[in-house]
């Protein structure tokens, strides 16, 4: 009897968690989607964003989001993979036990701190070295690249460790060097996990808001170079929601819907990739 009650209470709590997810999803779409149809897909995916005058084109923000995400991957993938390979294959157990938690700690640093470091160090550095305003695609890419490192490192590391040791022995027994084994065998064998890590990192980069607002400059245009200022979907929502009303507010929810859809697609791809082992 007591068991039954406990079971039902747990069930209720579990469902309320799922329910809140469903409610959020429903709310975002219910607020945002009607505006997309009201504006028309063609106008919605154009570059004219002047929400107070009824222009709701979000193309430059989509491109901005994609640019900083791609930039983050360019920075994050090589460093993340190199780090995972070093930890999993080239370092002693003691080093692994010390370094892995430290890298995972990177994920615990609040994003505003990343943004702050970006403003204080990276932005002036870019301005003085390469010119331009400093607040730029480049700055955002580098900071986001660092922010997604823990995701890429820990998932890639785990999937490298999951490669059976017999593969390594077999490869060494054929006369492979350690590096050949990594390059020709282990990265191949662990690739589903590595790809999943990268995709989850991508999700993190595209959804990041605070750090990006602080260092990307937020100018409303499609950036012409890496040194140009850029505005993402997330920063638009955060910057404008405070004073938005009516259709403007709905347009921000529409941005949210698009983000939501992108992230859901990324997660589904990640699950698919890891599932197919």
């Amino acid at each position: 009897m007591k068991d039954k009650i406990a079971e039902n209470i747990l069930l209720l709590i579990a469902f309320s968690a799922i329910l809140s997810l469903l409610l959020i999803t429903f709310f975002i779409f219910q607020q945002g989607i009607p505006l997309i149809f009201k504006t028309g897909l063609h106008n919605f995916f154009s570059i004219s964003w002047s929400p107070t005058k009824g222009g709701f084109g979000i193309l430059s923000m989509i491109i901005g989001s994609l640019m900083v995400t791609a930039g983050a991957l360019v920075v994050g993938i090589p460093f993340g993979l190199a780090c995972a390979v070093f930890l999993a294959e080239f370092s002693s157990p003691t080093i692994q036990k010390t370094l892995k938690p430290i890298i995972e700690l990177l994920a615990g640093i609040p994003s505003v701190v990343y943004g702050f470091i970006g403003i204080v160090i990276l932005v002036p550095f870019i301005r003085e070295t390469f010119g331009g305003p400093g607040f730029s695609v480049l700055a955002a890419s580098i900071i986001l690249g660092i922010m997604i490192l823990p995701t890429i490192v820990s998932i890639s590391y785990d999937s490298l460790l999951a490669v059976p040791n017999t593969y390594r022995e077999g490869s060494y027994a054929l006369g492979a060097t350690k590096w050949q084994t990594v390059r020709m065998l282990l990265l191949h064998a662990a690739r589903s996990g590595i790809v999943a890590g990268i995709i989850l990192g991508m999700g993190r980069a595209i959804g990041e808001t605070m750090a990006v607002i602080m260092i990307a400059g937020n100018a409303l245009k499609i950036p012409g170079s890496l040194l140009d200022s850029v505005r993402t979907l997330t920063s638009t929502i955060a910057l404008e929601l405070g004073y938005a009303a009516g259709d403007h507010r709905a347009a921000l929810f529409a941005c949210g819907s698009i983000l939501f859809i992108i992230i859901i697609i990324l997660n589904i791809v990640a699950i698919r990739v890891t599932g197919r082992k």
Partner: protein
């Protein structure tokens, strides 16, 4: 002619001594059988010869000579190319049959596509596997049966152009038909290669090994022509083991 000479070999895993003062000569083009119960040091012997023990953080003393040259004077990759090792459980690498066989050669050299094709086909023919897989070269190697996988591993070793082929209980997980096929393959190949065959199956050693060594607790008890070992061993312990009184 002596192919592999082992002199006063000791091997330690941490504090455990796996091999105790082993001295052995292995002749060119023979099948050299190694028998003994579990933990007698048979596998350690193989892992010492191709220096695979190094990845287990084991420590070795003594000398091993390949064609009269100390194996520590050879680049380790070259040593392992010349001395192939086949494991008890077939180690099939992810990817196709073709990719498995070409993996070894690609490690040591760059090949043109047709040269590589040639190597793959020669190796598969030599391992008596060609007819069974010629239409499945691009299928995943893990779809092959256990016996086929083990012959795939033999082919993969052959593709590297080795001189010595070491086998660590290659038939322990296989059915009698697959075992017969592998034994037939070895008997054919021994014209060109030297085999060291570690086996738990004393009958297998009796069937195909030219000479056989009996190991017990890391010591070499005796080594002789297989016929002598299996009919009139000098040491009582060998006799007991062969007759199944222990181990």
């Amino acid at each position: 002619m002596i192919k592999v000479a082992i002199q006063n070999l000791n091997l330690f895993y941490d504090t455990v001594q796996a091999l105790k003062n082993i001295s052995l000569d292995i002749q060119n083009n023979e099948i050299f059988g190694v028998i003994g119960p579990a933990n007698s040091g048979k596998s350690s012997l193989l892992r010492a010869i191709n220096r695979l023990y190094e990845i287990d953080y084991a420590r070795m003393t003594g000398r091993i000579l390949l064609d009269g040259e100390d194996i520590f004077n050879l680049p380790v990759n070259d040593l392992r190319r010349r001395v192939g090792l086949i494991f008890a459980t077939p180690v099939v690498l992810p990817g196709s049959v073709y990719k498995n066989i070409s993996y070894g050669p690609k490690l040591h050299n760059t090949f043109k596509k047709n040269e590589l094709d040639e190597r793959v086909s020669t190796a598969l023919h030599a391992a008596n596997l060609w007819d069974e897989v010629k239409d499945r070269l691009w299928d995943s190697a893990s779809t092959l049966s256990g016996g086929q996988q083990q012959r795939l591993c033999i082919a993969r070793t052959l593709a590297m152009d080795p001189e010595v082929i070491m086998m660590d209980e290659p038939c322990s997980g296989l059915d009698p038909v697959s075992t017969t096929k592998i034994e037939a393959t070895m008997l054919e190949l021994k014209k060109q290669y030297t085999f060291i065959l570690v086996t738990n199956n004393t009958k297998q050693a009796a069937r195909i090994a030219d000479r056989t060594a009996f190991f017990l607790s890391g010591e070499l008890i005796e080594v002789d022509i297989s016929k002598t070992i299996f009919t009139s061993p000098r040491d009582q312990r060998t006799d007991d083991y062969i007759r199944g009184r222990f181990g």
